[in-house]
Symmetry: C2
Subunit: 337 residues, 2 copies
């Protein structure tokens, strides 16, 4: 056990940073001192933690002196500040895309590959939210029947674009309902009462980076460099919680009942699958929870060994903040800091 545990939260005023503070508090993370850090323009603002206000400081290399853990939810700035934190003895857990595919950086979903944490060299990466939500559900099925191919279509909430994304959906929806003009700023197009099949930037092959993350990150997390994943990522007018329609083909046959049982026993999953009672995962009801909800589990009628199912999970929590904290919890539990 560590006696002193100073934890820096970088990006403490953002959507994910705020949820990290909440999560650290709720989960009784054994923190002794919090350093709330953010971009210089946020310095001086207050954030709440364990009933007290904390003054946000501008994140700088010296901010990490004496920190054992630094949780980053601040985008690309980790490229510069992450190594500075490591140099000062902190283990960095980063939410951004920056280091995810770096072969020296473990990419961790605690329910899937916690053992990879031990290989860290100072920096640990938190996967993309859509990937996290998907692999939590894929892993137990893969262990049971070996997944050969995944076809996934996402239904992603605006919270993926942070506080500004949440605000844009709210303001735009009000304007549209009042028949006022709208002006998209955060998203490429109108998001209120619309769908945008475009998240992150496009690559040459016609896929968005978001879609390719679901392929490459899944392979890395699951240690399956050949795993086949075909993804379509779509932004939907929902505030929180991403949903995904997932089709898998497995080597071994799994009945819907078997899959349901396997998923029920798996960590981090709540099976919500009772169509007769209109029970299935839905984003409004999974918002502000820490689990991945799975339902609509049924055998694919189009192939020998296939399953369809539907997942939903709070992308700011399990898809980002909570997954990061779970990684930090392992670091503490296994005396890795």
């Amino acid at each position: 056990m560590v006696k002193e545990l100073t934890v820096a939260v970088v990006g403490a005023t953002g959507a994910v940073g705020q949820e990290m503070l909440k999560g650290l508090e709720e989960r009784n993370f054994p923190i002794t001192k919090l350093k709330a850090l953010a971009a210089p323009e946020e310095a001086g603002t207050l954030v709440r933690f364990r009933g007290e206000d904390h003054v946000v400081e501008a994140a700088a290399p010296e901010s990490f002196e004496g920190c054992q853990i630094a949780l980053f939810a601040a985008g690309e700035v980790v490229r510069w500040l992450g190594p500075e934190a490591v140099k000062r003895g902190a283990v960095v857990v980063d939410n951004s895309n920056t280091f995810r595919m770096d072969p020296t950086v473990p990419l961790i979903v605690p329910e899937v590959n916690p053992e990879d944490i031990r290989n860290h060299q100072g920096i640990i990466a938190n996967p993309n939210c859509s990937t996290i939500i998907m692999v939590v559900a894929l892993k137990p099925l893969h262990d049971a029947a070996r997944i050969k191919r995944v076809v996934v279509s996402t239904y992603q909430a605006v919270s993926g674009a942070g506080v500004a994304g949440l605000k844009e959906l709210e303001v735009q929806s009000k304007q549209l309902l009042a028949e006022e003009k709208i002006k998209p700023e955060v998203f490429q197009h109108q998001i209120g009462f619309n769908l945008i099949p475009h998240i992150d930037v496009f690559e040459e092959n016609g896929y968005t980076k978001e879609e390719l993350k679901m392929l490459y990150e899944t392979r890395k997390i699951m240690h399956e460099p050949e795993m086949k994943v075909s993804a379509t990522a779509v932004r939907v007018p929902v505030f929180r919680s991403h949903s995904e329609s997932i089709n898998i083909e497995t080597e071994k046959k799994l009945t819907a009942a078997e899959a349901r049982q396997i998923l029920s026993r798996a960590p981090g999953i709540i099976v919500q699958d009772d169509p007769g009672q209109n029970k299935y995962p839905m984003p409004v009801f999974t918002a502000h929870t820490d689990e991945v909800f799975v339902g609509r589990i049924r055998e694919d009628l189009s192939i020998e060994n296939g399953l369809n199912f539907w997942v939903a999970a709070d992308q700011i929590r399990k898809g980002a903040a909570i997954n990061t904290i779970q990684i930090a919890e392992i670091l503490v539990r296994e005396n890795l800091v």
Copy 2:
């Protein structure tokens, strides 16, 4: 050419019926007399057609005397009134699910199987909206490369539940934005800022009827009794236009460029596929149009011969009213009435 063409529209006050009147007018359908029919409780209300008010009559067997064509958008009532209309010499084109899988009833998408109209015995069925939108895009690709399997996830607008569905999304969104209590009536759960992976009723195998329609109707329309379709149908908080994320596996390889070219030349399709310019189909921009919009066309990286693409189309128009009128246009053009 028919000199006199009396057309009955049954369900003239509903969402689809209203759109039929609009479509008949816009497309200059050679109608000489309109009979606006509806349920008895709607009798006496007025509907607008070609600048004139028409008094809605309660639909009854005798309503169809002298009608050459009867367009039904009135649900199950066609089971009783459809044969009565046929008995009186009308050809019935029905929007409901009632006769779609009846082997004696042609199920028509004019871009796909117009020739089947000739086999009609008085009643012609209009497919399910999600099916129509999908098969318009599948057909030209199937002709070029033979589709072996389809995995589709839908993003269906509330207009699928008619005027009441549209109203519920509007009212509920306002209430939610005002932090007021909501009470779902049309949909099983909250639809404002939510997703409901449940359209139509559940079958024993865990699929909804909506999902199975996309399998069985597609097979019938495309004359491919073995075609494999795995569908997941989801209601989204969008007013009009359904969208679909479609993955296909073909026998012959098609590059994205080839698919784009094939689709560009196909009837009833507008290819909107320029990711660099943020151009792809979106429901708000396809609402109130008659075509199926296709974009995000890209080669599936997970199989040898696969494609992913994204379609959107106005479900009340191409998904229902316009498809029905197009069928009626063929009846007139080919002297089948």
